[in-house]
């Protein structure tokens, strides 16, 4: 994964976390219009980035898997790094 792709995942994680944080705030402040707008703005920004990431690296959720082949089980899992997998191959 090159730097641009690492940055893309990082941005997805940032937006995703901001949504989680805002979701918790909205749970106890359901009438806050500002937070509501912020939540949906984050979601609008996130969606195309997920589409871009999926096209480059495969699905983040099973329903985003390719229609050409079941690539849900391909590629790295979130807890794997190039470092850990290289060590595995050396063993």
């Amino acid at each position: 994964m090159n730097k641009n792709d690492t940055d893309l995942m990082r941005r997805i994680q940032e937006l995703d976390f901001a949504m989680v944080e805002t979701q918790l705030f909205l749970d106890t402040h359901p009438d806050c219009r500002q937070a509501l707008e912020y939540y949906h703005r984050l979601h609008r920004e996130l969606e195309p980035l997920v589409v871009e990431y999926t096209a480059k690296h495969g699905p983040l959720t099973p329903s985003a898997a390719s229609t050409e082949g079941w690539n849900w089980i391909d590629g790295m899992w979130p807890w794997q790094t190039e470092n850990t997998e290289m060590r595995e191959r050396k063993r």
């Binding site: 959720t61 089980i73 979130p78």
Partner: protein, 182 residues
């Protein structure tokens, strides 16, 4: 990471409460072969599995077990909602009630709280997948026993669904195991 969906995997709609049955069905939540343990088992074991096929299978089944936790919890909720302490006592659920009230708590039907001692994560794919095959069969037997002890059609419909899922998971784990050995 996880996303929660505000829906059950299979509908639960119990016409009338039955505390006695709830005291039995709680085993499918927090018993040694219950859904909490099933989910924790697969989601713990998946990290060190050697292929995407096996990691994916454990991830997806472990995830489905979380949905089954919710289904069993919905059963317990609907079977006990609105019962008086007298009704609870008459059904023999007083020992649960004194600690948990109407709360949903993962415990065995015999009262022991859920414990991770009922499963293992061995770091050995063959050992772990064989445990998983046994776990699905043991859970299937618990559902068979519940069906023998229950004559409530609303409950049995849901239990039959959960029982069927144990069989499907057993099939998939068998295929996952053979993908490593054949």
């Amino acid at each position: 990471m996880w996303i929660y969906e505000k829906k059950l995997q299979y509908p639960v709609k119990i016409a009338k409460p039955d505390a006695r049955l709830a005291g039995i069905i709680v085993d499918a939540l927090g018993g040694p072969d219950g859904e909490v343990g099933a989910s924790m088992r697969y989601l713990s074991q998946r990290y060190t599995m050697p292929s995407g096929k096996v990691i994916g299978t454990l991830t997806d089944i472990g995830n489905e077990e979380l949905a089954h936790m919710e289904i069993v919890s919905a059963l317990l909720y609907q079977l006990t909602k609105g019962l008086s302490p007298e009704e609870i006592k008459a059904a023999g659920l007083d020992k649960y009630y004194v600690n948990h009230g109407s709360g949903i708590y993962p415990a065995a039907a015999s009262g022991e709280p859920y414990t991770c001692m009922a499963f293992n994560s061995k770091g050995d794919p063959i050992a772990d997948l064989n445990e998983d095959l046994a776990a699905e069969q043991k859970a299937r037997v618990t559902y068979d026993n519940i069906l023998r002890l229950s004559d409530n059609p609303d409950v049995n419909d849901v239990i039959k669904f959960l029982r069927q899922r144990e069989i499907v998971h057993y099939q998939r784990f068998g295929e996952a195991l053979r993908s490593l050995t054949d």
